[in-house]
Amino acid sequence: MRLSASAIALVVGLLVNPGAQASEPPQRWVSAGGALSEWVTALGGESKLVGVDTTSQHPESLKALPSIGYQRQLSAEGILSLRPQVLVGTEEMGPPPVLAQIRNAGVQVEMFSAQPDLPSLNGNLQHLGKLLGDETKARELFAGYEQALVQQKNWVAKARSTQKAPGVLLLIGHAGGKPLIAGKDTAGDWVLRQAGGHNLATHSGYKPFSVESLAGLSPDVLVFADRALTGDAARAALFKENPIVASTPAAKNGRVFELDPTLLVGGLGPRLPQSLVHLSSGFYPPQAKPSP
């Protein structure tokens, strides 16, 4: 692929005057970060994406774009070959020397927060809105998101007045095998608490568990996030690979729920409120579903 003269002129222009792009929103985007790519899409910027990283799996159409590899292991020349004007990613993006090379080539590199909390999301959305030239839409999206989470919180609070918070464990596995349990300080823990569950795991980070301690914790509810399988296939694999799981109260009462593992990567994504509603209706069964 030969670089067109206009692209060269553009790169040169950016080199000479790094502030030049401020007036005109960038038209060629590369996004490294699952949640971020979803937000770019939600803000109507999908047509501007010319490449995404391997964590950008939603919406489905993004998989057709050239893959720039894993967000922590980016390649400077690979990204430059897509002739982007801006590279967006979370602070997980790297390695730093590659980012420096990309910056030196005149590509705007914009860092976003991967923290799973509302202030970070607000900052991210405003930043994206400014880059895409649609700040109104970004504000609207955030307001809607905030409202959904507030509603969710109220619903959980109401449910809690009549029911005890269930003891929950989140298992993350690959086709059921050797699942890791989400402990404190993880996005998984945040999701469980937000959905009104009480995370029984007390360690920090994602750790493999001993079968005995899992049985000892006797969780009321199990949530599983499987990277390879979905739905009933993932559930069956989980029970098959870990027979002890079948003997927990959660399995006996049929309270084993699924969570999309891509929700746990790269900060708050647009699909999260919907998943929370789904989870908390499983955590507090007799209650009416919250209005979306």
Partner: protein, 345 residues
């Protein structure tokens, strides 16, 4: 073992191969540059005054991305292959690999400490941050190798067999320590650690390049001077001693050069397997076991092999890229098996 190729032919061939690999490494990449632009930009980089008009893109890609990367590949490949020869000479065993004296596992431990410990400590001085990983890997490799060497010494003599066993024990020990850090690591640091263990020439920059270039130039100039001593050592330690070689000094030098060279290579590019094992074999197959040929030829062959592997790494999945450790082991492992099955290993 007779040689298939005359040394002179071999050197000419390998030099041409190395030049070809260097040129391809500069000329090919995910960004397609017109050949003429690449040539002009390359000439400008070496100081030929050519009109810069329209060359900005080519000069940037060549000067800031491909040239440091190519130099890194040359240095890492050369020094790894050279260390392989040194180790195979020291242990008088063609299956020896720089990992045997603990330098790789020590570097891995240092890296694990830096990656996991660095994120636990958090508040490091900014100036140190980017170099912490390389520094720890280098010191880890040097430290464990020094310990292996020390354990192999008894009454002023270095027992190579003891050193070998001590190397195996310390490699296992370092391995489980890395395992412990892996367990302690969070998701993010775990991925960093995993990728570091596969090695990459990605993101090479001049500031990280100079220490490695100095070290590998030093090692590449020093070791070939000891070729005759290494040849004598092939006969056996006491035989070499009777031939007037200071065997203890030779062993010390070999271990030191390996620790320094592999330590610096690993610090700059992560773990890259099989170059140290396979390249000396290849050269030995072609030209026989004479270290006067083996040492310099291995430098050229190692550098060329790594550059070709890097080309695969950066082009196969463009615009993403493969860790180079995957590519070298992919070539290296089947070759190693072939040698084993041929019954001459």
């Amino acid at each position: 073992m007779t040689s298939l190729v005359k040394p002179k032919t071999l050197f000419v061939g390998l030099s041409l191969l190395c030049v070809l690999a260097t040129w391809l490494s500069l000329a090919l990449g995910p960004v397609s540059l017109p050949l003429l632009d690449t040539l002009k930009a390359a000439l400008r980089l070496v100081g030929v005054p050519i009109e810069a008009q329209g060359l900005e893109q080519a000069e940037l890609i060549l000067g800031q991305i491909r040239l440091p990367r190519t130099l890194l590949g040359l240095a890492v490949g050369g020094v790894l292959a050279l260390s392989g020869v040194a180790m195979q000479g020291l242990f008088r065993n063609p299956l020896a690999d720089p990992g045997l004296v603990g330098v790789s596992s020590g570097a891995a431990l240092g890296a694990a400490i830096a990656i996991v410990g660095g994120s636990l400590l958090g508040g490091l001085p900014d100036a140190l941050g980017p170099y912490l990983l390389s520094l720890c890997a280098f010191l880890g490799g040097l430290g464990v190798t020094a310990l292996v060497y020390r354990l192999g010494r008894h009454n002023g003599q270095t027992n190579v067999a003891t050193m070998l066993l001590a190397g195996i024990a310390l490699t296992a020990l370092a391995g489980s320590a890395v395992g412990l850090f892996t367990y302690l690591a969070d998701d993010a640091t775990l991925r960093t650690l995993a990728f570091w263990n596969l090695g990459s020439l990605n993101g090479a920059s001049y500031s990280r390049l100079w220490p490695l270039l100095l070290v590998s130039a030093g090692v590449a100039l020093w070791l070939p001077r000891r070729a005759k001593a290494l040849n004598a050592l092939l006969l056996g330690e006491s035989e070499a001693n009777h031939l007037g070689i200071d065997v203890e000094r030779l062993k010390r030098e070999l271990v030191f050069c390996t620790a320094l060279g592999v330590g610096a290579a690993v610090a700059a590019a992560g773990m890259i397997g099989f170059v140290g094992l396979v390249v000396p074999h290849l050269v030995r197959l072609l030209a026989g076991p004479d270290h006067r040929v083996l040492l310099p030829a291995s430098v050229l062959a190692g550098a060329s092999l790594l550059l070709f592997a890097d080309l695969v790494a950066r082009l196969a999945l463009a615009p993403a890229e493969l860790p180079i450790g995957i590519v070298t082991a992919f070539i290296g492992a089947p070759f190693f098996l072939y040698l084993l099955l041929r019954g001459r290993a």
